[in-house]
């Protein structure tokens, strides 16, 4: 028992170490990007008409005279305090901006993930149990279509078809103007806030805006989830316990959906975590198309305002979430899967 605890602690330590290392790597990259930026950070503050004295003063204030390694250390210290600098575009601290825009992205990505999981897992199971037959072929083709789809283009076509031509969904943005400022922000996720406030009309409108971008992102994650589910299931269905269960007289339905599926959920958690990370990325393009005021649109607008603090802040945020999701899935793996748990 004690040995087992020690082994678990060692594994946890190794995991934490690698997470910290990865995060340091990420900060190295964002720091390097900040340094390579062709825009002179001093001129960005003082303007190009400033005197040499002012220039030198600001140059020192920014710590640019220090060795690079010291500058990097200062950079890390600032990040640790949540200090990402001010955004040029909004003239507010970047962290404040990020906190404000992030819930919109979470709302979008969460619904997309739900769509992907709810349809993707059954699709993958059905494909695996019909290996080589038409449901499998259809699934395979559809997931390749998902992998090949430029998400921004699908968004535009979706808007053209379902909003402009058919009028089934609401247009770009999160809410019609007439519903603005009715519900007080609690979570920052409009659908949830509207429900909390009991504003059914606002909820319906917000959902109408949300459903198309979420479905489009959801389709892309569906492709990945279904494909991974299929390959995990194929692995299980070849095992002898499946044969034993069938021989015992259990219904094939039960064997597939309870026994085999029950054995792959740990792997599925990993896939779902990674999917969520890639959804945050996909949000940059989707939000641009749908004028969705989340992290992606914020980063895109910052890019064109040459607002480097904001861009790097957003990169760090998405990167950190990515890394944490990776760690979380490793952790779940280590905790629930006895094979992984008893090693090492």
């Amino acid at each position: 028992m004690a040995r087992r605890v020690a082994a678990s602690l060692r594994r946890l330590g190794a995991l934490l170490f690698s997470v910290v290392l990865t995060f340091l790597g990420l900060t190295c990259v964002t720091f390097a990007i900040g340094r390579f930026m062709p825009i002179d950070p001093v001129i960005a503050i003082v303007g190009d008409k400033a005197s040499q004295e002012t220039y030198d003063r600001v140059y020192r204030e920014l710590g640019l005279h220090e060795p690079v390694i010291v500058q990097y250390g200062n950079y890390l210290a600032r990040i640790a305090q949540g200090e990402f600098g001010n955004s040029v575009m909004t003239a507010r601290p970047v962290l404040e901006d990020l906190v404000r825009v992030f819930p919109a992205t979470i709302e979008l990505a969460a619904l997309a993930l739900v769509i992907g999981v709810v349809f993707g897992i059954p699709a993958g199971v059905i494909a695996a149990t019909n290996r080589g037959r038409w449901p499998d072929q259809v699934m395979r083709f559809l997931s390749l279509v998902g992998y090949s789809m430029p998400v921004f283009w699908l968004g535009l076509v979706g808007l053209l078809l379902f909003y402009a031509k058919l009028g089934w969904v609401e247009g770009p943005g999160r809410l019609d103007v007439m519903y603005d400022d009715i519900v007080a922000p609690v979570t920052g996720m409009l659908t949830i806030d509207a429900l909390l406030a009991g504003e059914d009309e606002v909820f319906a409108n917000a959902l109408g805006h949300l459903v198309l971008p979420a479905s489009i992102l959801g389709f892309l994650s569906l492709a990945y989830v279904a494909r991974m589910t299929r390959s995990f299931m194929l692995e299980q269905l070849e095992q002898e316990y499946i044969l034993a269960a069938l021989a015992k007289g259990l219904s094939p339905w039960r064997v597939v959906w309870v026994h085999a599926l029950g054995n792959i959920w740990v792997q599925l958690v990993t896939v779902i975590a990674l999917t969520f990370g890639s959804l945050l990325e996909g949000a940059v393009l989707t939000e641009t198309v749908f004028a969705w005021p989340g992290l992606g649109l914020y980063m895109k607008n910052s890019l064109f305002a040459a607002d480097l603090n904001a861009v790097l802040g957003g990169t760090l945020l998405i990167g950190a979430i990515y890394i944490l999701l990776n760690m979380l899935s490793d952790l779940v793996y280590a905790l629930v899967d006895p094979r992984a748990r008893d090693q090492g």
Binding site: S148, L156, T315
Partner: protein
């Protein structure tokens, strides 16, 4: 027929016959894979279009503005209509194929050598070299690709070269892992030991014995990756961080077509379709190749 018999000879008389025979068998297996063949056809079509575009249409016409023709719907003269500056969309899509191909070729030329340079020594020497190199790889693997490419493109300035660098910097880690895994499975093979006993240097063993064995899986992986590279490049172009106007890059074309989407749908839709079909072609081809190589036809 004699050719076929020679290729399928179970006892090839020369190394060349054996190698050609191996390829021919792979082709026979691949030919049965309908989706894979569709993918191959799409990729070949893309190559042909890119190669012959200047022969079919005048390169200047992809850029020349003829404002009296702007936003024309499809006609015989302009099968895909014209864009907001009166340029023929079909011609622009054809020249866009060259840009897309340039991007994927350049990215491949960067990521494969980097991936091999990191993965081969890691798998071959093992130990702390392996641990250190793989740690670096894992760090890069844990980065969000598009976001990082975006940040790079923003820092280096928009443009096709910078888009290539940005994509390549985030695309190499899977190749390093692949090369490492392939190397580790061969490392203890008898033919490697034989080469070592003959006094071959590590560099020689890696480059003459191991690299050729890694190449098939690297090529399959690359084919499957093409779609991702094309989509990332198009995404950067769409955001205005890739190829700059008036260059007929597909993502940038979708972006400009966006303004007239509701009235002149073809301007944004056609180049987007080109991105989709091209990515799908590479994905189908890669999927088919993978099936053949793993022996499940």
């Amino acid at each position: 027929m004699a050719m076929r018999a020679w290729l399928l000879d179970p006892a090839p008389a020369s190394r060349r016959q054996a190698r050609l025979g191996g390829w021919f068998r792979a082709w026979l297996a691949f030919r049965r894979n309908t989706l894979g063949m569709v993918g191959l056809a799409i990729v070949l079509l893309l190559l042909a279009v890119a190669a012959f575009a200047p022969l079919i249409a005048d390169p200047a016409s992809a850029l020349t503005q003829t404002l009296e023709n702007r936003l024309q719907p499809a006609t015989w003269a302009h099968p895909f209509g014209t864009d907001e500056l009166g340029r023929d969309i079909l011609v622009r899509v054809m020249f866009g194929a060259r840009i897309t191909l340039t991007i994927v070729v350049l990215v491949s030329l960067i990521v494969v050598p980097i991936g091999l340079a990191i993965g081969l020594p890691a798998g071959y020497f093992g130990g702390w070299i392996d641990a250190a190199l793989m740690r670096v790889t894992d760090i890069f693997l844990a980065f969000p690709r598009l976001v990082l490419a975006l940040a790079f493109a923003a820092a280096l300035g928009p443009g096709i070269e910078n888009a290539v660098i940005a994509i390549a910097l985030t695309a190499w880690p899977p190749y390093a892992r692949l090369a490492r895994a392939e190397t580790m499975t061969r490392r203890r093979s008898e033919f490697i030991q034989a080469a070592e006993l003959q006094g071959a240097s590590h560099l020689r063993i890696i480059s003459t014995q191991i690299v050729p064995l890694c190449m098939p899986s690297v090529i399959i992986r690359l084919t499957l990756d093409m779609a991702g590279i094309i989509l990332t490049a198009a995404g950067l172009g769409f955001l205005g961080l890739g190829a700059q106007p008036p260059s007929p890059e597909w993502g940038a074309m979708v972006s400009t077509g966006r303004e007239v989407l509701l009235d002149q749908w073809w301007v944004a839709t056609i180049p987007g379709l080109a991105i989709f079909v091209t990515s799908l072609g590479f994905n189908l081809l890669g999927d088919g190749l993978r099936d053949v190589s793993s022996g499940r036809g």
